[in-house]
């Protein structure tokens, strides 16, 4: 029941599907180990979501030192309001685009854009400066624009 939900989160943080499954399994192990601490009065999904995101961030920290910054071409072209074209992009394609980002950019992008964390919160979670968080987000969006343009062409 929560497999698809969990995978939808971990796919955005992982490099590949296998990596996403590994993060998801780690997250579920933590869920089973700490299930006695779960407050039955509160909804389960947000609690699960928090565990999955924290597990993904832990994986990012583990591979941070080994991560390579993937720089894409600097061709910056603003995406126009081509809603009809953009809306046809599937979820899988979106995920593949996100997975092309470097781990640092990808993590900041997910935390800010998808999860809704502020830069100050992201800086605290990842142990980086607020400026670094903003910079990484800007670079992530720039790279995604480039990828999108490549796909649209």
């Amino acid at each position: 029941m929560f497999y698809a939900y969990g995978m939808s989160i971990t796919l955005r943080y992982a490099d590949s599907r296998d990596h996403a499954a590994e993060i998801l399994n780690d997250a579920f192990m933590k869920v089973f180990a700490n299930i006695k601490d779960y407050d039955m009065e509160r909804p389960f999904k947000p609690w699960l979501r928090r565990i999955i995101i924290n597990t993904a961030i832990n994986h990012f920290r583990k591979y941070q030192s080994n991560g390579q910054q993937v720089e894409l071409s600097n061709a910056i072209t603003k995406i126009g309001n081509e809603e009809s074209v953009i809306s046809s992009i599937s979820y899988q394609e979106i995920i593949e685009m996100v997975q092309q980002l470097s781990p640092a950019y990808r993590t900041v992008f997910n935390l800010h854009v998808i999860e809704g964390f502020k830069h100050e919160e992201i800086a605290k979670i990842l142990g980086i400066a607020v400026g670094t968080s903003k910079s990484n987000l800007h670079k992530a969006k720039r790279n995604l624009q480039s990828i999108l343009e490549k796909n649209l062409i």
Binding site: A4, S8, A21, L24, F28, I79, N81, K118
Partner: protein, 429 residues
């Protein structure tokens, strides 16, 4: 935490929207990896629990062993102290079994060699003869000197404390029989018995003085002192009442659910002083939890073939043990023993609750019944215990036990393991 501002650019809005439109199919391989990890974790937890139980049981046994050993040691020490305090002082009573004691004055005394060996008890007759000899020689005190000429022995005494008389019971000894006819005696008879030492004081019937005289009886080395053995008389039969907690489980000695209890009667027939046959009847309340594969009710019981993920059992049964008990180590007033045997179970009442994980609720939730099924010699039982004599015929026992299954029992056909400890009160006929 969430940023609710509307300042997101189209790219952000696109990814945010698309991220929610996930459609991910289940991959069995992902679950199998997780299942493997969960099974490993279960094994680690079971091993850890097993180690904790073994450590706790070992600690308990060593504590009991240490406690009873200490009790025995203090008891022996106390007795030795009493013995030393109540024994006749050496300068007044020299009862040495050594023939070459330099403190003894040795005077050859003729007499019948009733006791040929060194350290053999001197009888009253020999003392009387020696005293008469001494008296005739002008010695007004009691029997003279220790000697070891292969015959009887005499002891030299000072003061009014006197005479070692071996092997005599108090009522056999009268004033008229005392070799020391002129020794002052008085007082009511007082008998103090200690292993190896008998004291008595007897009323004087003749003589002017009525000063108390102590007659010490001592058993010399080489004489078998019955007090050194267990004070309990040997008896063929004994019975006991026992009770204690019970921890039961299924499949292996781990994952106990809740403690139950056992109480009952025990009967023993002693084949020898160490070996006994033990039987009895005990009622036990056992609680356990069984997994999917460990609980096997009759065929066709499960709804649509869907088996319960977990079964919680609550059973009342009669346990009829039959085995042997062997006293491994015997002390004066206590003993360590071990038992081994087989138990037969008669199921009196069985109650089971079933749990399913993530399934619909129309499945069967429980079963209970008074089955009365008999499972002869279904479990092997082992125990080690300590028995402590509280009185002549009464004793207390502490006995941790372990029962392991030989065959399946109950309506659910489970392999039932049990751990526990009996405390029992026994009476020897």
């Amino acid at each position: 935490m969430p940023d609710n501002s509307n300042s997101k650019d189209p790219l952000e809005r696109l990814f945010e929207k698309k991220a929610r439109d996930y459609n991910i199919s289940f991959n069995e391989a992902d679950w199998e990896k997780l299942e493997g990890r969960l099974n490993l974790l279960d094994k680690e937890i079971a091993t850890r629990r097993k180690l904790v139980w073994i450590a706790a049981a070992s600690l308990l046994m060593f504590s009991l062993l240490g406690y009873f050993t200490y009790q025995n040691y203090t008891g022996i020490k106390q007795l030795s102290r009493q013995l030393n305090n109540e024994a006749i002082p050496n300068e007044q009573l020299d009862i040495s079994t050594k023939s070459d004691s330099s403190t003894e004055e040795s005077t050859p005394v003729s007499g019948e060699g009733q006791n040929q060996n060194k350290g053999t008890a001197a009888t009253l007759d020999s003392f009387r003869d020696a005293a008469n000899t001494s008296a005739n020689s002008g010695n007004s005190k009691i029997a003279g000197q220790s000697s070891n000429n292969g015959g009887y022995r005499q002891q030299k005494y000072k003061g009014n404390h006197s005479l070692a008389v071996s092997g005599m019971t108090p009522n056999e000894l009268t004033v008229s029989a005392l070799p020391c006819q002129r020794c002052p005696v008085s007082g009511a008879p007082l008998i103090d018995s200690h292993p190896g030492l008998t004291l008595l004081r007897e009323q004087a019937k003749q003589g002017k003085d009525e000063t108390p005289v102590f007659i010490a009886g001592q058993e010399f080395a080489g004489i078998n002192n019955s007090h050194s053995n267990s004070s309990r008389p040997f008896s063929r039969f004994s019975f006991g009442l026992l009770a204690g907690p019970d921890l039961s489980t299924v499949g292996s000695v781990s994952d106990f659910y809740s403690p139950g209890y056992t109480f009952g009667l025990r009967a023993e027939f002693n084949l020898t002083s160490r070996l006994s046959i033990v039987t009895g009847i005990q009622q036990s309340r056992v609680y356990y939890t069984a997994g999917n594969s460990e609980y096997k009710p009759p065929a066709g019981f499960w709804t649509n073939g869907i088996t319960a993920d977990e079964t919680i059992g609550n059973c009342l049964l009669l346990d009829i043990p039959l085995g042997f008990k062997y006293n491994v180590k015997q002390y004066s007033g206590s003993r360590f023993y071990a038992t081994a045997g087989l138990s037969s179970y008669i199921m009196l009442h069985e109650d089971y609750r079933f749990q399913y994980y993530g399934r619909e609720s129309e499945l069967v939730e429980g079963w209970s019944g008074t089955t009365g099924t008999r499972h002869w010699l279904s479990n092997a039982s082992f125990s080690m215990g300590y028995e402590f004599d509280i009185q002549k015929n009464w004793s207390l026992r502490a006995e941790p036990y372990l029962k392991i299954p030989i065959s399946e029992v109950g309506w659910g056909n489970v392999n039932l393991y049990s751990l526990g400890s009996f405390i029992s009160l026994s009476y020897k006929l």
